[in-house]
């Protein structure tokens, strides 16, 4: 069959694997955006910078403190999340009574500042990060070669994505989040601390972005611009999935990664634009996105 189509199984499955890897990042990042948007009604344009900070934090931990990947996976996202919480408390919280556009502009500006600072100190050349011991190498399955680290990334992303979904849909804290998304005033009138819920949510969304950054560190070169190109695609994913939908982000993230991978096999010329073509079609047919609630 593969011979008939003129492609090798290694090429096809290799691209599918890359599609899943990209999809993991799309899903993690758009999930963070969705969580934040649901509660704050702000599109967090700092997200790409926070992803980059996750990767840099892992690099700094290793190079300045000698702390390796596994601890970095734990520490780096938390540190970046705490910085996110400070940004939310200090800056974003002052804008909630204004039009959402101000929040968007603020997060955009903060993203530019952070990216600029890192560019100033570290330049634009990529920094290397070693693949963690135990996850190096890979295995040849006969029809494809599977690098171990990539399997780990896909697996962890799936766990984190569905863990987040369960947290929001199945827990008491999630019920608070959903209720606050619908009617924050009433939730506050029940005696629930809505501002704290919002801060925690922003911190969690940032944590997801930074976690994706740490996962990316051993695979891609770490540089201040690493979030920029990726986020352009991720925003398209968010638009396709539907603003603020948790499940939508996950399914659309992985799905579009796969579509992108397949396009690379069958029509490579379109691989970098296919997501935007999908976005245009979805916008025409279902403006609220595939999983969005219209109105």
């Amino acid at each position: 069959m593969f011979e008939l189509l003129g492609i090798s199984p290694y090429g096809l499955f290799g691209q599918l694997l890359i599609g899943l890897i990209n999809g993991s990042f799309y899903a993690l990042l758009s999930l963070g955006l969705a969580v934040i948007f649901g509660l704050l009604n702000i599109i967090n344009f700092t997200h790409g910078a926070q992803y980059m900070m996750g990767a840099f934090a892992a690099w700094m931990l290793l190079n300045y403190l000698g702390i390796g990947y596994w601890w970095a996976l734990l520490i780096a996202p938390l540190v970046v999340a705490v910085i996110g919480v400070i940004i939310e408390r200090l800056l974003l919280a002052r804008l909630y009574h204004l039009d959402h556009l101000y929040g968007l502009l603020l997060t955009f500006g903060v993203g530019l500042v952070i990216t600029g600072l890192f560019r100033n100190y570290y330049g634009s050349a990529g920094l290397p990060y070693p693949t963690p011991g135990g996850l190096t190498g890979g295995s040849d399955l006969g029809f494809m070669f599977v690098p171990t680290y990539r399997v780990w990334v896909i697996g962890l992303s799936l766990v984190v994505c569905f863990g987040t979904w369960a947290l929001v849909e199945k827990t008491k804290l999630g019920a608070y989040l959903r209720a606050t998304t619908e009617n924050p005033v009433l939730v506050g009138a029940f005696g629930i601390n809505v501002p704290r819920l919002i801060t925690l949510t922003y911190g969690f969304g940032v944590w997801l972005a930074a976690l994706a950054g740490v996962l990316a560190a051993p695979m891609y070169s770490i540089n201040p611009n690493m979030g920029i190109d990726l986020m352009i695609v991720v925003f398209a994913v968010v638009v396709i999935g539907g603003m603020g939908s948790i499940l939508g982000s996950i399914v659309t993230g992985f799905g579009l990664g796969l579509i992108e991978g397949l396009t690379k096999v069958f029509y490579p010329e379109a691989s970098s634009t296919v997501i935007f073509v999908v976005m245009a079609i979805v916008l025409l047919v279902r403006p609220a996105g595939l999983f969005g609630r219209s109105g």
């Binding site: 019920a175 959903r178 209720a179 009617n183 939730v187 009138a189 029940f190 005696g191 629930i192 809505v194």
Partner: protein, 244 residues
């Protein structure tokens, strides 16, 4: 004013005292010095035609009216400057006019959403005794319930929390007569159980059966206080205030 209340509830403390309450929505000044008080264990209604300021009064008490000034003493504490979260934590339960059932939450999640603010709230068993319909619907989406059931749910969820003062904004609005009766019986039971209730209600004939006193609002003021026993002799006055 308070003599009638004192006669029904001698010696019971004033749980809520509103004095010279003003409220605004942006530029528009909608409450102009509202005054009334409610004693522990009383059921008091706020009557008045559409736009009189009943909802805004309840919103001011719970702390979600955008701008308010004056004095609201709750459980002996000045609360006009508190956030709604702090007011709720004093033991105030609020049922908004639009009921506020959350579509993305199941009935059970809706029921359990408001946190316990004090001890002494109703247990689940007691709640299902009052609202038997809810027990079989716990896994349904909150907004899939009928209007009457949603109203029951909106009331039920603040009974768990230990709130002693309940603010109910038109719980019978738009409901079938059978349901209205059921809600009437339920309010009477809650009164028996010692809850203090401020009820916004259009139908005073219905409310007189369980309410102690009625405050009539007009154009952002309380213009009249009528004990339930004097409803019959005050009919003309009431009609002139309530007719559109």
């Amino acid at each position: 004013m308070s003599s009638a209340a004192a006669s029904r509830h001698p010696g019971s403390e004033v749980l809520l005292a509103v004095k010279d309450l003003h409220a605004w929505y942006g530029e528009s000044h909608v409450l102009h010095g509202v005054e009334f008080e409610v004693r522990a264990g009383e059921v008091v209604t706020l009557l008045g035609r559409n736009g009189a300021g009943k909802t805004t009064t309840l919103k001011s008490i719970i702390g979600i009216a955008p701008q308010r000034r004056g004095s609201i003493r709750l459980m002996g504490r000045e609360s006009v400057g508190l956030s709604s979260r702090q007011v709720a934590r004093l033991g105030v339960g609020y049922v908004p006019e639009e009921r506020g059932i959350f579509a993305s939450l199941s009935v059970k999640e809706n029921l359990e959403l408001p946190p316990i603010v004090q001890t002494g709230g109703l247990t689940s068993g007691q709640i299902f005794e009052l609202f038997p319909n809810l027990r079989s619907r716990l896994t349904s989406q909150g907004t899939k319930l009928s209007g009457g059931e949603q109203q029951m749910l909106a009331i039920a969820r603040i009974l768990r929390t230990g709130a002693r003062l309940l603010l109910l904004d038109e719980p019978t609005e738009g409901l079938a007569p059978v349901i209205v009766e059921q809600i009437g019986r339920m309010v009477a039971q809650l009164k028996q159980a010692g809850f203090t209730i401020v009820l916004v209600e259009q139908n005073f004939r219905f409310a007189r059966t369980f309410a102690d006193r009625h405050y009539v609002m007009d154009q952002g003021r309380v213009v009249e206080m009528i004990p339930s026993s004097e409803i019959d002799t005050s009919m003309d006055k009431l009609h002139s205030y309530l007719s559109a």
